[in-house]
Amino acid sequence: MGEILHGLFVNPFIEIAGAPDLFVQVLWEGFVSGTLYALIALGFVLIFKASGVFNFAQGIMVVFGALSLVGLFAAGVPAWLALILCIGIMFGLAWGVERVVLRNLVNQEPIILFMATIGLNYFLIGFGEFIFGGEPKTMITSEIGLPTGSFDFEVLGGLVSLQQIDVSAAVIAGLLVAGLAIFFNKTRIGRALRAVADDHQAAMSVGITLQQIWVIVWFAAGIVALTTGIMWGARSDVSFALSIVALKALPVLILGGFTSVPGAIVGGLIIGISEKLAEFYWGPLVGGSIESWFPYFLALIFLWFRPQGLFGEKIIERV
């Protein structure tokens, strides 16, 4: 018993103190995966805010975006044109989803809409594999102008290495969030989006077209997905295995709240960093790969104390 407690509460901290450079490296790894979780969660939040749809297909949209980019490039389209075409594809997807799915399911219960997005999820998996093939592909990192290689730092008496692609991922994620914030707060469409998020009926009564807003919001989520897909694809292969990892965005949502953009970012970073730390320092105690379930447990414990998430609005229930 004493040994277990020792392993839980003493040894990891001795390890951390003993090799601070390693600790910084682990923190960085966590930060990078946290950024990616945060980006996926951001896509969820955008759609949930504007249409109340819990979009299960966000993870697949990430893969689908990356896959069409790689697929188009492989078919001989120049990289810059492929990128533009991909944005077009994302718009087509948003338009199609609104036209075929959302428009026909207006006023249904949330669980029905949720199921429809799972259906969309399956459809996109099949469609993507049918067109581009099921095997994992390599992201065209250097062709679209992203840096490769790494920076090495002397930190706390050791060497910490940061991949340049990770640094640029963090920067692009920051720019994306800033861009979305400006878009939401300063433009006409952004104001309309916030109005819809607040109250559908009130928004309609002042002349905002719901259908149009939905297309825009799914398109925005699609752009976020495409960016995430490129970043993630550059770190590992582009394949549908990503979609299971993308489920990690769900505990992020729980932590941050379903409707809060800052919540998604903060939640993503908390999940990313804590899961890497737990895996590295506490994982060996129970045989490793606790990464697969640790975020969910963290979120669960968190929910026990704050059912509405970190930044979510307080839930008031009335009969």
Binding site: F54, V100, V101, N104, L105, Q108, E109, P110, I111, I112, F114, M115, A116, I118, G119, L120, N121, Y122, F123, L124, I125, G126, F127, E129, F130, G134, I244, L247, L250, P251, L253, I254, F258, V286, G287, S289, I290, S292, W293, Y296, F297, A299, L300, L303, W304, P307, G309, E317, R318, V319
Partner: protein, 355 residues
Amino acid sequence: MLYRETGQFKTNYSADQAVFPIRQDLVGIWLILAFMFLVVPFTFNDFWLNSIMIPTLIFALAAIGLNILTGYAGQLSLGTGGFMGCGAYACLKLTTFFPDLNIIVVILMSGFFAAAVGFIFGLPSLRIKGFYLAVATLASQFFLEWAFGRIAWLYNYADSGAIEVPTRRIFDIAITGPHATSITRYLVVLSIVVVLTWVASNLVRGRFGRSWMAVRDMDIAAELIGIRLLSTKLTAFSISSYYCGVAGAMMVFLWLGAAEVESFDINHSFLVLFMVIIGGLGSLLGAFLGAAFIWNLPILLRGAFGQSIDAATVEHISFMVVGGLIIFFLIVEPHGFARMWQIAKEKLRLWPFPY
């Protein structure tokens, strides 16, 4: 004309509370049961029994389990695969410790272990609701998957890391293992499913079911009229997991014959959730219809395309078609096959003279 209950008067309470109050339904269900028990085992070949009938029945039972939780008690769960795994691994351990115990008893008992796990993972439902709960159930799914893969004791330290089903006999007839014929396995599965469905139909009509539905419709209101949320939600979780556990044990012992962790992964949970939604939330008949549809659709597609294109392409197309059909069905009838059957019955009542 054929389906009309005119003239069937109920003169006592037991007639009024019968499972099938309409005589045509009663006759119909006996005919179906007779067909399933007497005709199917002797006319269908091994392919039909092994890849269509047995899995459909097993998935129907799992769908009933999830339906109790999601359809009746309103608690969305994505952890069905994990609970099915609990049943399967519990069954393996039980039959290892008690090799002489009747295997059917073992399968039914293994459900209790799944129920205990479901009880524990149901505890968060007291504070967490809706989609938040759905994500919380993912915790159980991923944790159980991890445990099945990591704890070697669970699979008896087999080198393959998989469950290997031993041969168990009742009256010298092999029920499980490589020697069991598909007819015996089919009959065992069918009997268990029929009995458990009957139990479920009485559960959902009774006090349990009514309090589940009250909680589903609005839990605060249910609490106000004196339903204990704690016990109601936890019984829903336990009983639902019991059904899933038995289905999981049957899946490995009476159908697959061997199973790895991948047999209980998250996709499995989604498969069962599809069955419940397509079949109809809050309907036992729906669980059967949904299971039959979702399980057999890819088989049908494979049959339709035949050998003209390679297997991988067929799989991609079947993914697309399943996804598309789910959306289509949700648009056409969000309440699933069960509601369609209801509507058909209403129409039949008046047919052929609707006025």
